[in-house]
Amino acid sequence: MLEHLLDEYLPLLVMLLGTFLTGMIIERRHYASILRRELATARIHHLNSGKKLDPKARISQSRLVCGEAVISVEFFRWFVGLLHSLLGGTMREYETALDRARREAVLRMKESAKGASAIVNVRVEHTPISYGLSRFSGVEAIAWGTAIYLEEDRAG
């Protein structure tokens, strides 16, 4: 009986264990890279206010900057999410995927604004993407804002 069950569900168990490990390793490495790059770009402040800029500010140049990222949800996470959606409660497994996509998008936006003094009016938007069989298999995030260069920055 047990042997029969094992025969039946062994591929599923292998897939779950395998994707749990790959997902964990990839996420850990991604978070390490996010933290390292967030420190490297900490000089540029980004704010989501600033729609009306102070006209007295001595801004020499401005530019629209964007960043985007697509982060997938691996099989294990999707499976846990499926069980979670039946039981209810906080879906932690999806929270980290969304968090990674948004932070990666904001980071890419900041990295494309090298030398800027600040990025104002930052907006982040995301769309769930699906392909294959599952309803939710990843998230795309896009971040954009206006990079501003103050006069002393250009001189320096």
Partner: protein, 106 residues
Amino acid sequence: MLLSNVETIPGKRIVRHHGMVTGSTVRARFFLIDLWQWIKGFFGGELKGYSKLIGDTRQQALKRMEEQAERLGANAVVNVRFATSTVSLGSSELYVYGTAVEVVDA
């Protein structure tokens, strides 16, 4: 063409409004790339092929909006906003809109 998502172009003065301009694109990747992304997505991590798809889509949508603004005789677009959606599997739609204006040095 100057672009910003605030109400003015910082350091410039708006002298004339030309109304709203828009740009919209739907793009997809080659199906083998879709297949590869599906395999990668099974194991988790970033889908670089789709990140590139959104980047290309954004550039094309912005270009279309800029062309429209140029035809109206504007030299800047302010209050630029994006909206994204997934139209069908493996494709991405991006809609970008803003206000075309004419600016001069303040």
